[in-house]
């Protein structure tokens, strides 16, 4: 055999090995599924719940009442009825007494006192909470007056987050 036949043979052998491996892999190849996805978006909830790591109040520059608002559209609540059922409003583990509960809405006031390191009150802040249970969504509004009050509340919610629940008392 001529020398170049050796080279051709070696190339063919190497090609055969490569193609053999590839052929084996292609023959053995199967379709596959790795993992699964398990998510579902909620468009309604059984009872009202709003949680977040912070709250930021906005002031409308055309509003002359110096009101600062935080507004959020939340999921629709199924079957809220303030006329027939009893509800409890809980903000950051504080049960809010004296809430005005209407057929499809809740209004309540909270007062937070902020103390300095000497134990003296440096700021006393009132905040109004309004929850309106509409047919397609729930509107949550937190309101306070003045930039200072809004800033203290923002700091409080930044430190503690917000966890607002409306629980039905059975």
């Amino acid at each position: 055999m001529k020398w170049y036949w050796y080279i051709i043979c070696v190339i063919l052998v190497l090609l055969g090995v490569f193609c053999g491996i590839q052929l084996y892999r292609e023959v053995k190849a199967e379709s596959y599924v790795n993992g699964s996805i398990d998510i579902s978006n909620k468009f309604s909830q059984e009872s009202f719940k709003y949680t977040n790591t912070s709250v930021v109040f906005y002031h409308d520059i055309y509003d002359e009442t110096d009101t600062y608002l935080f507004e959020a559209d939340c999921l629709k609540v199924d079957d809220f009825n303030g006329l027939t059922n009893t509800y409890q409003v809980v903000l950051n583990d504080y049960i809010l007494l004296g809430s005005e509960i209407n057929a499809g809405s809740i209004f309540t006031n909270v007062n937070l006192d902020f103390y300095d390191t000497y134990g003296e009150i440096i700021k006393s802040v009132d905040m109004q909470i309004s929850i309106k249970f509409l047919s397609d969504k729930t509107q949550l509004t937190l309101a306070t007056s003045g930039n200072e009050n809004a800033s203290f509340l923002e700091q409080y919610f930044s430190n503690n987050g917000i966890r607002l629940y409306v629980n039905e008392i059975l």
Binding site: M1, C9, V10, L12, V13, L14, L15, G16, V17, C19, G20, Q22, L23, E26, V27, A29, E30, S31, Y32, V33, N34, G35, S36, I37, I39, N41, T51, T53, S54, V56, Y58, D60, D73, C74, L75, T86, Q88, D93, Y94, I95, L97, G98, N111, L112, D113, F114, Y115, D116, G119, I122, K123, S124, N147, E148, S151, F152, E154, Q155, R163, I169
Partner: protein
């Protein structure tokens, strides 16, 4: 003997060569005429550590804590659209992954990018013109630009400077990108490979895809042009492409503003390799014809503009953790906050009066005390600050024929009160045994005509008296 061996050797070699040729032909035949399409699908779901599953099942955690630990998806978007024109438009993308193939919570790491405004990026185009022509296919004149080693290197090292980049480790976000002077952060570029969890197994994922766009090979003489072949430019996807796609997906979602999950198709951007536990290597799948990769994208889409850094998913805006669009910020430093409760005779808990009234024939009126359930509730709210106000002439008390003559035995014992107020006219209020014992009462307010008769151990705290 020698010749015989040589002949045998040659025969073997020729046989192997023929076998090799047959196998090659078999591969060709199988590949083009027999092979059926195979499809691989990767679903990238929640990226919680394998060790977290046990922790989540623990009864020690609240539902909220469980939810927080459960929610860790590969892609997260935070989008403040500023549609209400009350802040700045803020777009953020975070990628959650693991640092090793053990997939434990100790290997958590997140990297993200932030853009102030509406990002309008495009896939990276590195046009190298006619100087870098490469003939990619045999047998035709298709030409590809932007494929030289130099272009690939540029593409692979490209980091879009218009973003702020943040890493998240050990509960803290930070920016460690230092551009040309080295970086201690994870650079989001095409060579960056992340480890993720699919089906409780480790996979690596890398944004390394590209697409070729026909730019036409047109000849033109005296204004008359004609196409003579295919000419392509290679466009490289970058993390900016991913960012832009994610923002568009969020902006166009049908549910509108809110917090939702969608499943996005990452097949055209990312390559995925499975970790082989036996060989301890990530193996590339170059056999499966079509590989699709789907990932959950969790997003927050807001109609407001971002106002301060607490709204960022990194807690930082424009590398400033104190970012606020308000020029004058209020000093909100405080030690402690307390929720104030002003309880009067009308106050109710779960629809029932919070005060209990006991009639005394001896005193000819009612002694008041606090409902035990309410007492218990307030003991579970240690930061509550309670003020109690009795308007002895209130319509509520009159309508219910209740004339309060004092505080009953143990009425508010072991119940912390800041201020108690009695409003009314000439009347004596009796404080029976332990009525305010261990109440830490600080202030007693009362109208001018009201006087008190207190049992010896009715109260054991020092308080201030204020006449209204």
């Amino acid at each position: 003997m020698g010749n015989a061996l040589k002949v045998v050797g040659n025969c073997c070699l020729v046989f192997l060569a023929i076998l090799g040729a047959v196998v090659s032909l078999a591969l060709g035949y199988y590949h083009f005429f027999v092979k059926e399409i195979t499809i691989g699908v990767n679903y990238i779901d929640n990226q919680v550590g394998l060790d977290i599953v046990d922790i989540i099942n623990s009864e020690d955690l609240t539902e909220e804590e469980k939810n927080e630990m459960q929610d860790r998806y590969f892609l997260e978007v935070n989008y403040y659209s500023n549609d209400n024109n009350n802040g700045i438009m803020l777009q953020e993308l975070k990628i959650n992954y693991f640092t090793d193939f053990n997939l434990l919570s100790s290997g958590y790491r997140s990297s993200g990018m932030q853009y102030l405004g509406d990002y309008q990026g495009l896939p990276l185009d590195i046009w190298d013109g006619n100087s870098e022509i490469s003939f990619m296919k045999i047998g035709n004149n298709d030409r590809y630009y932007g494929t030289s080693d130099e272009c690939v290197q540029i593409a692979n090292n490209y980091v879009d400077k218009s973003f702020n980049y943040y890493d998240f480790t050990n509960g803290i976000n930070w920016n460690g990108i230092t551009n040309n002077n080295g970086s201690i952060a994870t650079e989001l570029k095409r060579t960056t490979e992340f480890i993720i969890k699919i089906d409780d197994r480790a996979f690596s994922i890398k944004l390394d895809k590209y697409f070729d766009k026909d730019v036409g090979d047109v000849r033109n003489i005296f204004g008359i042009g004609w196409k003579v072949g295919e000419k392509y430019n290679r466009y490289y996807y970058t993390f900016g492409s991913l960012f832009q796609s994610c923002m568009k997906a969020v902006r166009t979602n049908s549910a509108g503003y809110g917090d939702y999950y969608i499943t996005v198709d990452l097949s055209s951007l990312f390559s995925i390799k499975e970790y082989d536990l036996e060989n301890k290597k990530f193996k590339e799948d170059n056999v499966t014809d079509i590989i699709k990769s789907y990932a959950v994208l969790k997003f927050h889409y807001d109609e407001n503009g971002a106002r301060n850094s607490s709204q960022s998913m990194f807690g930082i805006i424009d590398n400033n953790s104190k970012y606020d669009i308000e020029e004058e910020t209020v000093d909100t430093t405080y030690w402690q906050e307390r929720m104030t409760y002003n309880l009067d005779e009308k106050a109710k808990y779960n629809g029932k009066d919070i005060f209990v009234y006991r009639y005394s024939e001896v005193y000819g009126g009612y002694f008041v005390s606090l409902n035990l359930d309410v007492k218990q509730i307030f003991q579970e709210m240690p930061r509550a600050k309670v003020n109690i106000i009795f308007d002895l002439n209130s319509d509520y008390l009159k309508e219910n024929n209740i004339n309060i003559v004092g505080l009953d035995y143990n009425a508010f014992a072991d119940f912390e009160i800041d201020t108690i107020t009695f409003k009314g006219e000439n009347q004596t209020i009796y404080l029976l045994d332990s009525a305010l014992y261990n109440s830490n009462l600080k202030t007693l307010k009362y109208s001018a005509g009201i006087s008190f008769v207190m049992a010896d151990n009715s109260i054991n705290s020092e308080y201030e008296e204020v006449q209204l």
